[in-house]
């Protein structure tokens, strides 16, 4: 029992960076922009967060700086794909390359250093609930931030006017345009905010999950998040479930490895999350019912141009 609680609690912790990235991408993609640069954005977030936190000894400052840096790089992607109408896949890949390179370059002198990190904050009362308290309410503040962010994103997307505008732009940009909505502006805002939130996931890795900078520390989480967006059918609450599921898988793999109880090579275990992502995607997309139900934003990946209506 103790063991199971530990694994579930670790699932939430290692699912949190995935959740940030997935939420960010949901916001971006709901507006019709696809950003495949999540991996790069997370790395940018991780290194910026670490550098600022290391030099100012203030984790909050580090976290905010990471989000700003993510927003700036997402803005670059936005400019490329919205204004210049560049292919979104290629621009996203370029962003990942740039993020990997820049974080590697900046991070060289920080390898092996330790920065202050977000410490555990047990929530009074709630953390005393047996089981649930251990799993959900004995983490750092960033985990609690996602508990607010998920319902908030859901509420804004589905229950408010700005959310409706955002989704309209992602579904029918020309119809939205004819209603007087500035499609370009909405997409710019969604991409930038999405990038900032994704970067926060990277900062979680270097400021809460560990307190170090390790080159390429996102280790493919950005790409897993892109798969998670598809699972979650572009809905925040499902993103939460998916993230914890995958977080759990990553945590279990680490635990098995560290425990040394099973005699399987570490490399084989490390394949697990990627194989699981693939298998889960196959199962989901082979079910006809699921495919009908999920609604990818209709205009996803299609640049909008007022002059050239298709």
């Amino acid at each position: 029992m103790e063991m199971i609680l530990k694994v579930l609690s670790a699932a939430v912790r290692s699912g949190t960076p995935l959740l940030f990235a997935t939420l960010g991408e949901i916001i971006t993609e709901r507006s019709g922009v696809m950003n495949l640069g999540l991996e790069g954005l997370m790395l940018i977030g991780a290194i910026t967060g670490f550098m600022v936190s290391y030099n100012t000894k203030n984790v909050y400052l580090g976290f905010i700086a990471a989000m700003i840096a993510g927003a700036i790089f997402a803005l670059l992607h936005a400019f490329m794909v919205i204004t210049l109408r560049v292919n979104q896949v290629v621009s996203g890949l370029a962003l990942t390359m740039l993020g990997t390179g820049i974080s590697g370059m900046l991070g060289r002198s920080y390898i092996g250093q330790v920065a202050p990190k977000f410490s555990e904050m047990r929530i009074p009362i709630l953390s005393d609930i047996p089981g649930i308290g251990e799993i959900f309410f004995s983490h750092d503040i960033l985990v609690y931030l996602t508990y607010i962010l998920v319902p908030l994103t859901f509420f804004i997307l589905f229950k408010t006017k700005p959310g409706m505008i955002l989704r309209a732009v992602g579904e029918e940009p020309s119809a939205a345009d004819s209603r007087g909505i500035n499609v370009y502006l909405v997409r710019y805002i969604a991409t930038t905010i999405g990038g900032a939130i994704t970067s926060a996931g990277g900062a979680y890795l270097s400021l809460a999950y560990t307190s170090m900078w390790i080159e390429n520390m996102s280790a493919g989480r950005g790409w897993i998040a892109i798969a998670l967006v598809i699972f979650s059918a572009w809905e925040p609450f499902k993103a939460m479930i998916g993230s914890y599921l995958f977080g759990g898988m990553m945590a279990t793999q680490l635990r098995l490895q560290a425990g040394g109880k099973v005699n399987i090579s570490a490399n084989i275990l490390m394949m697990l999350p990627y194989i699981a992502t693939l298998v889960a995607m196959v199962i989901f997309s082979s079910s006809e019912k699921f495919r009908k139900r999920i609604g990818a934003p209709t205009a996803l990946g299609i640049p909008y141009s007022r002059e050239e209506k298709t």
Partner: protein, 367 residues
Amino acid sequence: MLKIRIVKRLNPPKYHAFLVPILSVVISLMIMGLFLWARFGKFEKVVEAYREMFSWPFIFDYGLPDTISKMVPLLLAGLGLSVVFKMKIWNIGAEGQLYLGAMATTWGALFLFKNVENSLILIPTLLLMGAIAGALWAFIPGILKAYLKLDEIVATLMLNYIAAHWLNYLIYGPWKDPEGYNFPLTAVFPESSWLPMFGESGIHSGVLIALAMVVLIYFLMYRTRWGFHLKIIGDNQTAARYSGINVEKNIILAMILSGALAGLAGGIQMLGVQHRLQHGFSPGYGYTAIIIAWLARLNPWAMIVVAFLFGGLMVGSEQLQIMMRIPISMVYVLQGIVLFTLLASEMIFNYKIEILIPRNGGEKSWR
């Protein structure tokens, strides 16, 4: 009142095909130069770094053989990607397919055919094994894309990570060289499996295979009906379907071809350069190949030039790392910037700014 608007150029001038890539590389080098300037604090150092970077890789007695041996996998993988990119299928998995090719070739050279001494039979067999392994690895996302509409970007990426861990498992585990002082590498292949060299030049014959593939792909894509079908599928899938083209089958075939070329690249890298499978044998050839395919605008001939230049860029930056202690991650930054400026400049060149000045009754446009 003045009106300014952006319109698409209907007939972009022909020289843009050359001007755009050159200009974007120059702009990226300038941006990169600022980075370096900030790092060194002295402008002379930047000049020195660039001089080193652009001379060493292209001088015959120094870096040129190395440049060519890096060009080969880039060119092969890039060619493969150009086939699927033409269909707007985003195979990001060349890196994993290349790993599989290297693994299969190693398996053949070290275990399956280790007693075969006739190079004329052995080498083609091993390379074929590599190509088949790469093709199989690409077949998985291909069939998932064709029949389940599974997003190929995510699928190929996941397969890259799986391939990388699989390769590590082999070289850290069952395939580790017992006499390798515990380093993650396999034993050296028997010499009968090595690709022949051009005399003392240090250039291996795999470059001929790569050039032959350029001709083959050019022929396939521009001179056969099949190549034309792929292009139609890329331009308009619905139209392709109505004109009787089997879209699913062609998606799978194109993925197989693309994976086979990446696998071949991995095999050639094993038999021509490394002669053993080891950790980090590919500095991201499969990812760089994406840029190469795109920079060459999916044109096989242009890809020779671009792959050669990028091979030089890789060798040059390795040289910089040794000589001036510049981290290798600089290459990724440079590649990222090149790609961004290229994409941007291509778009900027394809559009023009029109300034409309209303005159009596009519509007006059400039530029």
